[in-house]
Structures are given as structure tokens and as C-alpha cells.
């Protein structure tokens, strides 16, 4: 039986495929800048926003967006002032998740609801929520397309980009906003604690196979979306948590790509050695 015959599975499929497809677009730039864990941290901080939203009766997505944007701005300011060391970042991120749980508990949010926010609950999405995720995903794609040359220049070398005339401060700000959008889009589908994996793992897999940045982006997006489809199917048949199944599928794709990449490199070296003239 095709699991996607059910409407709740169709909603989950659209939401997860879109989220997992756009997350690596942003992830490629943060990986290249050596900030692979920033998405994880932003997810922690967004949880504080969710807790606050539960407490005041607001929309959790808005709370998550507001908190992650504020945390992003704070991190940029701290980085510019030379204060964004490991310890300071850890304090903000762990403070976020602790505050999120405290506020959620005060608001009387049930454990099921919290688990859904942290690890995703794509099977419970309404079409309205799916549309909202689609809008957020479209915003990420549009920003990536418009800013692509400047994002690549920034990711390659920030100082060289600045001397090329790129307004690096503004592009860093835009990138931070894009991370927040992905975190918020992923909150209901893959979960605040797992969405960061979809920013990084498909990129790591694609980097094994592609030979250009553009190729890495396209391949990573395809790996992310395919992992969502495969992960949801596995979750349906084996009754696993969908968010976990999607992330584990992406990790399996990375391992396969790493193996294929290593094999291809070995083959290339072997060919070079065979074609070299004998001494």
C-alpha cells in the first residue's frame, strides 16, 4: 500500500520535502564558513521563543522566529566585538533550551506537544501549516538565488569579499535570517533539535560527489528531499519517529556518498599511476 495515499502523509511529504530540500541551501554557506553547529544552536534558542509563545498564547512559529533572529543578531554583534567565543555561544544556546523548557512548563504545555516541537510531528500538520512552511521555504530559495554570488564570495573568504565591494555585514545578517527561516520551517516537520542535521548532513554527502559549489548545492538539496521521502516511508512502515528516520536516512546517504567518493578518488589515483611513464 502506498503510504502517500493518506492525506496526512501527503501533508507530511510536502512539508518535509520542502524543508529538507531548502535546509542544505543555507547549510552549504554555514559549513563553508566553519559554523556547522550554528543551526543547532539557533534551534535551541528558538525553543525559548516557543516557550514564550506558549506562555502568552501566541503562535509558536512567530515566537521561534523572533527569538532565533534576536539570538542571531546578538551573535553577530558579539562576533564583531570579539566576544563570540565558544563559551559565550554555549551560554546563549543552552540558556535558550533551558528557558524554553521552563516557560513551556509554566504554560502547562504537555510533553507530547514539546516532543513534537523538538523532534517534529509532520503527521499532525494542517494544510494551513504546510502552506506556511512552503512560504518560508520559498523565501529561503529566493534569498539564496538573489544573494548567491555574494554568499559564495563571503563563504570563500570574508575579507576578500569585502575588498571586492560586497557589503559583508549585510550578507552575514541575511544569512543569519535564512538560518532562522529554515529553523522555523523545520520546527513542525523535522523538529527544532533535528533540523540542523538537515542543514549539514546532505551538504557533507554532496561534497563527496560534486566538483563545484553550484553542483554541491543542487546535489545537497536533492539528497535532503530524497531523504525526506525515504525517511517518511520508512517511518510509516516501521512506525518510527519521522524526524529521526529522515535524519538517519540522510546520514546513510552520507556514508554511501563517502564510500563512493573514496572509491572514485582511488580509481582516479590508480589511473594516474598507470598512465605515468615508467622511471
Amino acid at each position: 500500500m502506498n503510504p502517500f495515499e493518506f492525506e496526512f502523509m501527503q501533508r507530511a511529504l510536502v512539508a518535509c520535502t520542502l524543508t529538507a530540500g531548502v535546509a542544505p541551501l543555507v547549510g552549504s554557506f554555514i559549513v563553508q564558513r566553519g559554523q556547522s553547529l550554528i543551526g543547532d544552536g539557533m534551534g535551541h534558542v528558538a525553543f525559548a521563543g516557543v516557550g514564550l509563545a506558549f506562555l502568552v498564547g501566541a503562535e509558536p512559529l512567530l515566537g521561534a522566529l523572533a527569538c532565533s533572529v534576536v539570538a542571531g543578531l546578538l551573535l553577530i554583534r558579539m562576533s564583531r566585538a570579539g566576544l563570540a567565543g565558544d563559551l559565550a555561544i554555549a551560554l546563549i544556546f543552552y540558556g535558550g533550551i533551558a528557558l524554553g523548557y521552563l516557560l513551556s512548563a509554566r504554560a502547562g504545555a504537555g510533553q507530547t506537544r514539546l516532543v513534537g516541537v523538538l523532534f517534529g510531528s509532520p503527521l499532525n500538520l494542517s494544510w494551513g501549516r504546510v502552506w506556511l512552511i512552503a512560504v518560508l521555504a520559498a523565501a529561503v530559495v529566493a534569498l539564496t538565488a538573489v544573494l548567491y554570488p555574494r554568499l559564495v564570495a563571503l563563504a570563500f573568504n570574508e575579507e576578500a569579499a569585502r575588498v571586492s565591494g560586497v557589503a559583508t555585514d549585510r550578507i552575514v545578517l541575511a544569512l543569519t535570517l535564512m538560518v532562522s527561516l529554515v529553523v522555523v520551517a523545520g520546527m513542525s516537520s523535522i523538529g527544532l533539535l533535528l533540523i540542523a542535521a538537515m542543514m549539514v548532513v546532505p551538504v557533507a554527502a554532496a561534497a563527496q560527489l560534486a566538483s563545484s559549489y553550484r553542483g554541491t548545492l543542487v546535489t545537497a538539496s536533492a539528497v535532503g528531499s530524497s531523504s525526506a521521502v525515504a525517511g517518511l516511508s520508512v517511518a510509516h512502515y516501521l512506525d518510527y519517529s519521522p524526524g529521526s528516520a529522515i535524519v538517519l536516512t540522510a546520514i546513510a546517504a552520507y556514508l554511501a556518498a563517502a564510500g563512493a567518493g573514496a572509491g572514485a578518488r582511488r580509481l582516479r589515483l590508480h589511473r594516474v599511476a598507470r598512465s605515468a611513464p615508467a622511471p
Binding site: Q32, V152, A153, A161, V163, A210, G215
Partner: protein, 238 residues
């Protein structure tokens, strides 16, 4: 007839990291068609002078002007080409040689970036730097010399009038260094570009620079030929 305007001008520039003065009262003028080498040991302040020249640092005292404009107000970035140290080519993700070169256009407007003149310029710099055959290869997988030439091509893609290079010979073997020297000589002598490079190696591109300036105790000392070799060695050793 008025004297030609310098493309780069440092006037009595002083800069300190906290209480440590790294650059003291440095003045320098570089004109079109001139090649200037700034040499000295690691930690002497060469890179600080370079970063001040590019507007990446603000001087505590004195002024820096690019093409007659204070660096704080300078906006004609296409006139300036910057070649960072080759270590930046060790990218975490695959970047093709052509993508590295193209990233030099990121600060230009979309219409310029997509214009036919820019496409021709891109082909020209890839040919000039001998990279046409490796343009689709990962930059991290080509030789050290090719990586360095990719970074220079990146800086040249906007047709700048001033090229600034940071340690261009680091990790580049003798043969590749000779090719680089030839390319830079072409840019200075044929295309009339101003070139400034900083290097810890006083022997980098021997004979190319019109002026060799050694960084000594935060100040620039002109050690150009005929006394250059001994004086440069002395400055580099201190």
C-alpha cells in the same frame, strides 16, 4: 602639468593593537605602473600595513587613500584587486577554479556581472593565468601554483588598476614562482597596473619590484637596489 595621482597613499599612518604599536608613522605612495614589495619577518607588521591599505583596518592616526579617496568613503572597489594568502583555497566544500575566479565579481552589479564584457574579461584572465584547462576542476585539487594563479585571476577579473598580494610565494615551488613572476611582470610593464605585494621572503620575485620596502620596528625602510640584498636580509633577520 600636475603630478599623477597615486593609486595608494598612506600618510603618517600609525596603528596599534591595544597598547602595542605595530605600525608607526608610515607613509607610502604607489603610482600606476609601479611594483612595490613590502618585506620583513613574520610578525613585523606587513599584513597590518596591507590591511590598512585595503581599508580593512582604520588607522589610529594618519590617513589612507585609494585613488585619492579616503578608504572610509571609497566605493570603486572594482579598481582594486586583492589576492589573499593561498591558504584560503583550502575550501571545506568543492569550489571549481572558475567559481573562485567568478567570486571576484560578487561586488559588481548584476547587469555588469552578466554582461558580455565581463564574460570576455573572465575568459581573458583564465587564459592569462593559464587556467583555461583546469577551470572546472576543484580548486583544492590543482597545484599550489595554479591555486595562487586562480586567486590572482579572481582579483583581476574586474580589471583593477591596483593589485595587492599577501604572501604570494608561500607554498609555491620554484617553477610555479617563475610563472607567477612572469604574469606579474606582464601586468606591471604591459598593462600598466600598480602592484603591491607583502612577503616574508626577501627573495620573492627578485628584480621585479621597482621599490623594496622593509618593515623595521613598525616603520618602512626603503632598501631598494643596489643595496637591497644585504639590507633586506638584515631587515628580515631582525
Amino acid at each position: 602639468m600636475p603630478a599623477p595621482r597615486p593609486v595608494l597613499e598612506l600618510d603618517a599612518v600609525t596603528f596599534a593593537y591595544g597598547a602595542v604599536a605595530v605600525v608607526r608613522d608610515v607613509s607610502l605612495s604607489v603610482h600606476k605602473g609601479e611594483c612595490v614589495a613590502v618585506v620583513g619577518p613574520n610578525g613585523a607588521g606587513k599584513t597590518t600595513i596591507l590591511r590598512l591599505s585595503l581599508g580593512l583596518l582604520r588607522p589610529d592616526r594618519g590617513s589612507v587613500r585609494l585613488f585619492g579617496v579616503a578608504t572610509g568613503s571609497f566605493r570603486q572597489w572594482w579598481q582594486l584587486g586583492y589576492v589573499p594568502q593561498r591558504a584560503v583555497a583550502s575550501s571545506a566544500l568543492p569550489l571549481s577554479v572558475e567559481e573562485v575566479v567568478r567570486s571576484g565579481l560578487a561586488g559588481t552589479r548584476r547587469a555588469v556581472r552578466r554582461g558580455s564584457a565581463t564574460r570576455e574579461r573572465l575568459e581573458h584572465v583564465l587564459d592569462l593565468m593559464g587556467l583555461a584547462d583546469v577551470r572546472r576542476r576543484r580548486v583544492s585539487e590543482v597545484s599550489g601554483g595554479q591555486q595562487q594563479r586562480a586567486l590572482i585571476a579572481r582579483a583581476l577579473v574586474t580589471a583593477p588598476q591596483l593589485l595587492v598580494l599577501d604572501e604570494p610565494t608561500t607554498g609555491v615551488d620554484a617553477a610555479a614562482r617563475a610563472v607567477l613572476r612572469q604574469s606579474l611582470e606582464h601586468l606591471v610593464r604591459v598593462e600598466g597596473m600598480a602592484v603591491v605585494y607583502v612577503s616574508h621572503d626577501p627573495g620573492a620575485f627578485t628584480g621585479l619590484a621597482d621599490r623594496v620596502l622593509a618593515v623595521d620596528d613598525g616603520q618602512l625602510v626603503d632598501v631598494s637596489a643596489p643595496v637591497a640584498p644585504a639590507a633586506v636580509r638584515h631587515a628580515a633577520a631582525t
